[in-house]
């Protein structure tokens, strides 16, 4: 409804792509308005609303890969009230990631009882994120950002019932500001640089690392999973468009923004290290990574930075999903993020420990794995272009990894105050793992044009390209 006007005949009527966005929304509405006993049942099977979309995206990627061309994955749909959705090489990888993460988010073990309200808002978060990724015009994208912000607000408020939702306020204000920036950028090309601010908020770049850490600390595990993947992908899209606009508007402003982001990465890494909450460590790591990616996009030649950041982020997000899934049952048992409650996992749950180690190894190797090692080249280029900023961002990224690595080390080798009755991987978790491995193999097998792991993730559209 709110998108720009499309050319007649360019779009097909609404079909499966609309289903990806609106089916979870229908589920959320039913959960909200159904009588309590019905809502309870619907809440338990809420995952079903996300599966058709995930399967469609998988199929689209499969057929797109077999086509090995831009046309292979091009999919355009016009919605009844005039808006549009587009699936192309520019957004298929993040859309697929979010599509596959959404069912996981609804299935993972939680410290507290799952409620219909939470399931409903998770569905809203999933569909909003997809709308922000798939929207063919600024209107749909803005709606996606706003919907994600409201979903975050309610998920935080619901999780923070003890403090009557006080912890929801800070992140909500920050993300509402991000929405205003996207709205302003959607209205006027002159305001496109504001997307950098929106991206900084979504990626948790300092000084916005606090709201991200607070959100991770308070949110249920499923929401952490979806938020980590969804907000990072939408934030990266905004970062790319914003840094490009910044570079076009005033030549040196992108460098200034990049330098600030680089020192932000350093600050986020430093702040992440002394955190004694496991979830805050994960958030701190993501903040440092986000700031580093933003800095690379601003400082390095886009031709190198785009594939570097795309591939790096893809590996990081998949590994992050693995880490959160591995920790989910531990969090459900411990009911706290306090690091002192974790330890000795290596002795009681070898497979879970191995999964954590493998995922962390993937995180460390992400600059080498993604886009044929262009992450490392981009880092080197940033060091050459600006030794101070390049050094800061590299150090920040390393500190973020160190913070997460120490937390994982403590979980596996440390001594907990009270031994966790930590079980090894269950059948369901095996299923998660199998799905994750299949996804990784599948993404690796995609042709270069559609964003294979070994090539690039062309998620970022050049201005004007659908």
């Amino acid at each position: 409804m709110l998108s720009t006007v499309m050319a007649t005949g360019e779009f097909d009527p609404a079909g499966p792509l609309a289903m990806v966005v609106f089916l979870p929304l229908v589920g959320a509405l039913l959960l909200g308005f159904a009588p309590k006993p019905v809502a309870r049942v619907l809440g338990r099977v809420a995952v079903l609303w996300t599966l058709p979309g995930a399967l469609f995206l998988l199929a689209a990627a499969w057929f797109g890969a077999s086509g090995h061309s831009v046309v292979g994955v091009r999919w355009l749909e016009r919605l009844p009230a005039g808006a549009g959705l587009v699936l192309s090489i520019w957004n298929i990888v993040p859309a697929l990631l979010v599509g596959l993460t959404a069912p996981l988010a609804l299935l993972v073990a939680e410290p507290r009882e799952k409620t219909p309200a939470r399931a409903g808002w998770l569905l809203v978060l999933a569909s909003s994120t997809q709308a922000a990724l798939l929207g063919a015009g600024p209107g749909m994208v803005i709606l996606g950002w706003v919907g994600g912000t409201w979903a975050l607000f309610f998920l935080l408020g619901e999780a923070d019932a003890e403090a009557q939702g006080q912890k929801a306020n800070g992140p909500f204000v920050a993300h509402a500001l991000a929405c205003a920036c996207v709205l302003a950028a959607g209205l006027s090309p002159g305001l496109l640089p504001l997307l950098v601010l929106a991206a900084a908020i979504r990626l948790g770049v300092p000084p916005f690392h606090g709201p991200l850490a607070r959100a991770f600390e308070v949110l249920p595990t499923g929401a952490v999973l979806l938020l980590g993947v969804g907000f990072t992908t939408t934030g990266l899209l905004a970062a790319h468009d914003g840094t490009l606009a910044l570079a076009r508007a005033v030549g040196t402003s992108a460098v200034v923004a990049g330098t600030l982001a680089a020192f932000g990465a350093l600050w986020a890494g430093l702040v992440a290290l002394p955190q004694d909450d496991l979830r805050r460590r994960v958030a701190g790591f993501l903040s440092a990574q986000g700031a580093m990616w933003l800095a690379l996009l601003a400082l390095v030649d886009p031709a190198l930075a785009r594939p570097a950041v795309g591939g790096w982020a893809l590996v990081t997000l998949v590994a992050l999903v693995a880490i959160v899934v591995a920790y989910a049952r531990l969090w459900a048992f411990a009911r706290t993020g306090d690091l002192r409650a974790y330890g000795g996992l290596g002795q009681v749950a070898l497979l879970r420990s191995t999964l954590l180690l493998l995922a962390f190894a993937a995180l460390l190797a992400a600059p080498f794995l993604g886009a044929r090692g262009s992450g490392v080249k981009a880092l080197a280029a940033s060091l050459v272009a600006s030794p101070l900023a390049g050094g800061a961002l590299a150090l920040g990224g390393a500190l973020g990894c160190l913070a997460l690595g120490l937390a994982i080390y403590r979980t596996i080798r440390g001594q907990a105050a009270m031994p966790l009755p930590a079980p090894d991987l269950s059948g369901r978790e095996w299923a998660f793992l199998a799905l994750l491995a299949a996804t990784l193999i599948f993404l690796s097998s995609l042709g270069p044009e559609v964003g294979g792991l070994g090539s690039l993730w062309p998620v970022f559209a050049a201005a004007g390209t659908p």
């Binding site: 409804m1 408020g157 509402a176 302003a184 002159g190």
Partner: protein, 465 residues
């Protein structure tokens, strides 16, 4: 006693009948096939898209207010209904007038009779204050408009807006004086259409009065203010061009202030009615994006005002239902409302979302059109940033309200206890109005908009284009 009760029932039935009749006429006006714009034989009145749109809106809102007035005591409700009908006639008169005399008469009639309706029908505390505020504001606006119209008439030698546009420039030295008169007329219109900073008395008037009357005022006066603007701007277009007067630049300060100030004030507001009013004032100010260098685009303003009106109708219904259960609309009494009165809380939340922008509704769709219109024009970055900033502030205000409803524990004490549910007829009435407004919002957004849009086809010839 029996005769009195009989008269009371008859009065109630008559008020209801009038209300239903007005709503039926409004629906008929909306459903009628579009006709060509016409002028009456004297050329003083136009029956064009703007006039039809305004007439249909007035009939709808007056009919809804009449249904709400059933609760007023005794025969006062009939008198109040008469005052509202007269006031609504004044708004329609102004919307159809091309002569400054009848245009001003419409404004004067509307602004004089509406405070009278408050005096007659509002039994709430502070009704007298609200009536006085309305009277003073209306009188001030009428007075300013009278002076500016006098000046324009004297300079042009005519009272017809189309003639004024061509003749007012005949004396070269008079341009500063004429422009001052135009600016004064804009201030008069600003008082009626709630453009900041002239909105200051309105949140109290719209937010604290009884829902039917306050809602009527909140909808009718902006239609009145914009009618003045559209008729004047349409007629004065040739003169504005000759003076190289940039109308959009002239009203930009209203837009910047209107988009941001009420939103900021809403963050500190302690009453729900006033909160809605402040959010509504912010939305109203966005209509100024329809003002371009040489005038106003009525085809953008009319749907914008329709969206605003529908949002107010839904808000008024939610507010009335909430007041009936809680006794008042203080926010502190609404903590945990989502658990105590889930449906009422949902309605109040939906109303707040309408002001922020609820996807799939007509009011958001027309606002998006307005924003894009603003983006396509030359107004620049500051105005659009103000619009986005206003949206941000309204989002925070709505978040504050929703946090109060759904995250906070219910307040303890007598004040927080809800009153027993009112009779089914009462509840049904508010619910019906609320749901009907939402259904119209969604229906217009999802495809009926082109059908309704036929009303807003404006023949530019009538506006001097």
């Amino acid at each position: 006693m029996t005769l009195r009760r009989g008269l009371d029932h008859a009065g109630a039935a008559l008020t209801l009948l009038l209300g239903v009749g007005a709503i039926a006429l409004a629906l008929r006006a909306l459903a009628m096939p579009p006709g060509a714009p016409t002028l009456d034989p004297t050329g003083a009145f136009a029956d064009d898209g703007w006039a039809r749109s305004c007439r249909a809106a007035m009939l709808l809102v007056t009919g809804l207010a009449a249904i709400g007035l059933v609760r007023a005591p005794g025969l006062r409700r009939l008198a109040a209904m008469g005052a509202l009908l007269g006031s609504g006639f004044g708004v329609v008169l102004a919307a159809t007038s091309l002569e400054l005399t009848s245009l001003w008469a419409g404004v004067a009639l509307a602004t004089t009779l509406s405070p009278l309706a408050i005096v007659l029908a509002d039994t709430r505390r502070g009704a007298a204050r609200h009536a006085l505020t309305a009277l003073l504001l209306g009188a001030l606006a009428s007075g300013i408009l009278a002076l500016s119209f006098l000046a324009l008439t004297a300079l042009s030698g005519s009272t017809h807006v189309l003639e004024i546009g061509f003749k007012v420039t005949r004396f070269e030295d008079s341009a500063p004086f004429a422009l001052t008169a135009v600016r004064a007329a804009a201030v008069g219109a600003a008082m009626l259409a709630a453009w900041a900073p002239f909105h200051l008395g309105l949140p109290e008037l719209w937010g604290e009065g009884s829902a039917p009357l306050a809602g009527w005022l909140a909808i009718a006066w902006p239609w009145l203010g914009w009618s003045v603007m559209i008729r004047l701007a349409g007629g004065l277009a040739p003169a504005l061009e000759e003076w190289s007067f940039d109308a959009a630049a002239a009203v930009s300060v209203f837009l910047v202030l209107g988009a941001t100030l009420p939103g900021a004030a809403a963050l500190a507001e302690q009453r729900l009615g006033r909160l809605y009013a402040l959010m509504g004032v912010g939305v109203l100010s966005e209509l100024l994006l329809a003002v371009h260098a040489r005038g106003v685009d009525p085809a953008l303003v009319a749907p914008g005002l329709w969206g605003y009106s529908l949002a107010w109708i839904a808000s008024s219904a939610a507010l009335a239902g909430l007041r009936a259960r809680l006794g008042d609309d203080r926010l502190e009494a609404m903590a945990g409302l989502g658990r105590r009165l889930p449906r009422t809380a949902l309605a109040a939340s939906a109303a707040a979302f309408l002001w922020v922008g609820l996807p799939g509704t007509f009011s958001l769709a027309v606002r998006w059109s307005l924003w894009q219109q603003g983006a396509a024009g030359p107004p620049g970055v500051l105005l659009l940033a103000s619009v986005a900033g206003g949206g941000f502030l309204r989002m925070l205000a709505a978040g504050r309200l929703l946090g109060l409803f759904y995250f906070r524990a219910p307040a303890a004490g007598e004040a927080a206890r809800p009153a027993p549910p009112p009779a089914l007829l009462e509840r049904g009435r508010w619910g019906l109005v609320f749901v009907a407004a939402l259904v119209i919002e969604v229906a217009l957004a999802l495809g009926a908009a082109p059908w309704a849009g036929r009303l807003w086809g404006i023949d530019r010839v009538l506006f001097g284009g």
